[in-house]
């Protein structure tokens, strides 16, 4: 509690400090490469009922995903708190790579916890983290995936809290993390809203994003929430299908519960034991979801739908072949969902998709899936 109180106070002070904001904004420009562009994808859109489809290109950020936005903010905060060591959890490895990158940039010690299962399916990112000077600790407890990596990071944090900041990578966990991580990712929606207005002269009809913990989705959603005519769609990983029980569709198939210090939807059995999630996408393989998404679902402001491994991989291939962009498998869930949304909304509609990451890390998985090896 003391560490969370300290972090909340420090974050609020930093947000109010023009110097902190200027330093972060400078890094986002010169280091990350923001603003990330909007790309219209007409050949892909032919499969979306003729809707205009626009991609918010978070895949073009330095390190290859949206994760760097939050990481740079929290790394600056770490220095501000006088802490010298950073720990993080990672699923697909994108958050781990972004964290290792920021720690190299700022001279911080870095330890990344990663489920053993994920170190295998995201071996490229493990090598990247090590190259950047981070220590990667494979987690062998529980389901050996993201939730267990968070467990281990929390254990490390309570034991080493004086010098260590836990750089949580999604909008889950205890306050202030869901709030703070959202604030660091809001830049996605702020930019996209202005870019779509400039390009099309109006707001989009729908904004689509994939949801694991929900950081890229809340980042692009947040500044559209007051725009009541803009529909918000979150796409959860349905794995083999929600009906099979082998999925990670927390809002679709879960029930309210407490995990990692937040009350939200949770995949759990009838006695509150966390159930293992399943998804081809390591980054969406988490049995919880950020509490703000639970709120948006309950109030009806956003709609959450499941997308299976097969649907996501079909969309992955479609974007590769129609637009020459290899998306992350996580983001491919948003692409698949958006194809359906486009058909529902019709030919005059505008659909904005958060392309949250690039697919370089997924080439092995995809090659195996498509039988290319």
């Amino acid at each position: 509690m003391a560490a969370l109180d300290e972090l909340t106070a420090e974050f609020n002070a930093a947000q109010a400090d023009p110097n902190f904001r200027a330093e972060l904004s400078g890094l986002l420009g010169s280091y990350t490469g923001r603003p990330s562009p909007i790309t219209e994808v007409p050949r892909f859109a032919e499969h979306a009922g003729g809707a205009r489809v626009l991609l918010k290109r978070e895949d073009l950020n330095h390190t290859g995903s949206h994760k760097i936005n939050n990481v740079l903010g929290q790394a600056l905060l770490t220095k501000r708190m006088g802490k010298t060591r950073v720990i993080a959890e990672t699923g697909a490895g994108q958050h781990g790579v972004a964290t290792a990158t920021a720690c190299a940039l700022m001279g911080l010690d870095c330890v990344v916890y990663m489920g053993q299962e994920d170190t295998r399916r995201q071996a490229l990112n493990v090598a990247r983290m090590k190259m950047l000077g981070a220590e990667v600790i494979p987690v062998t407890t529980g389901s050996k995936t993201l939730k267990d990596a968070i467990n281990e990071a929390m254990r490390d944090w309570v034991a080493n809290v004086e010098k260590t900041h836990y750089l949580l990578g999604t909008v889950a966990g205890p306050h202030p993390f869901p709030y703070m991580v959202r604030e660091f990712h809001r830049v996605i929606g702020q930019e996209a809203r202005a870019q779509v207005l400039e390009l099309t002269g109006r707001l989009p009809d729908a904004v689509c994003a994939c949801v694991g913990g929900g950081s890229n989705a809340i980042g692009i959603f947040y500044d559209f929430i007051p725009d009541a005519d803009v529909k918000l769609f979150g796409f959860e990983a349905a794995g083999d299908g929600v009906e099979t029980g082998r999925h990670a569709a927390t809002i679709t198939g879960g029930a309210p519960g407490v995990l990692h210090g937040a009350r939200s939807y949770l995949l759990q059995d009838d006695e509150g034991q966390t159930m293992e999630s399943h998804s081809i996408s390591a980054g969406l393989d988490y049995p919880g979801v950020g509490p703000e998404h639970a709120h948006l679902a309950d109030t009806g402001r956003a709609t959450y739908r499941p997308v299976t491994d097969t649907e996501a991989m079909d969309a992955f291939k479609l974007l590769c072949r129609t637009e020459g962009i290899i998306p992350a498998i996580e983001s491919s869930h948003a692409l698949a969902g958006a194809l359906v949304v486009g058909r529902e909304l019709g030919p005059d509609s505008i659909v904005l998709i958060n392309l949250s990451g690039r697919g370089d890390k997924d080439v092995d998985t995809a090659a195996t899936w498509f039988g290319l090896t």
Partner: protein, 266 residues
């Protein structure tokens, strides 16, 4: 006076600390766990903590997580936890359940309180519930006269210690090291000052958990605490034993060593 408070009062009257022993229910098996806890009571454990095995025990170290995983793989359910409580409480020892919050939330706080009380349980230790987030448990435990034990840590602010002890009943659980559960070779320098800070805020007895694994360490902790809490060291005896009988005997021997430790305050 609750049974937990009685156990602490009895120990205080004997000028010693109470010995609090923990095992998760269903480990190494349902009956094996009951046998081990019963043997620990016979060997001198005053208050028993029955752990509710949970999939994500973030405040526990590898030893207890391994035991919880084994219990869950063995199919341990809340009904088995309550049956363990019933069997152990029948020995006469004050018996509480230690649980992460989500299983209780899912089961229903009122229903859990009712079933725990019916099984003869004296209360609940809730390591990941803070009193300011626990209104439903405060109400349910009041309705069933159950003790409720919240945790404080060396990092807890004076305000948080005051808020926490005000909601406690039975005893206050001081986690005297920053970190997860697990046996440690050295006792903590943070423990005595933490206990002193808690004493300024409450008259409740204070139990200290910090990885005690032998009578010498127990005696040292008994020098400043009202209760010595031991968990991982008992689990370790069962994990390392070649069979159940040896594991139960190991738990009994350890309990006897610790019981003599809490009687020789250093």
């Amino acid at each position: 006076m609750s049974r937990v408070a009685e156990a602490f009062a009895k120990a205080a009257a004997e000028n010693r600390a109470a010995l609090v022993g923990y095992l998760p229910a269903g480990f190494p098996s349902k009956q094996g766990g009951i046998d081990a806890l019963s043997a620990m009571v016979r060997a001198g454990v005053d208050v028993v903590e029955v752990g509710l095995p949970y999939s994500d025990p973030v405040l526990d170290g590898p030893t207890i997580q391994q035991a919880a995983d084994r219990a869950l793989q063995g199919g341990t359910r809340i009904a088995d936890v309550l049956a363990t409580v019933e069997a152990v409480a029948a020995t006469g020892a004050a018996t509480v359940v230690m649980t992460y919050w989500n299983p209780v939330l899912r089961y229903g706080a009122e229903r859990f309180a009712a079933d725990l009380a019916a099984a003869g349980g004296a209360g609940l230790i809730t390591p990941d519930l803070t009193p300011d987030s626990g209104a439903d448990w405060l109400a349910a435990s009041d309705a069933r006269d159950l003790d409720r034990i919240f945790l404080v840590a060396p990092s807890s602010s004076p305000e948080r210690i005051a808020l926490t002890v005000a909601a406690c009943r039975g005893f206050v659980y001081a986690t005297a090291v920053m970190g997860v559960t697990g046996a440690r070779s050295q006792t903590s320098v943070a423990a005595p000052p933490l206990v002193a800070r808690i004493r300024e805020a409450t008259d409740l007895p204070i139990g200290v958990g910090l990885g005690v694994s032998n009578g010498v360490q127990a005696a040292e902790v008994a020098g400043y605490a009202d209760g010595v809490i031991v968990g991982s060291a008992f689990v370790r005896k069962l994990l390392d034993a070649p069979d159940l009988a040896a594991g139960v005997a190991g738990c009994a021997d350890l309990a006897a060593d610790l019981a003599s430790g809490v009687r020789s305050r250093s």
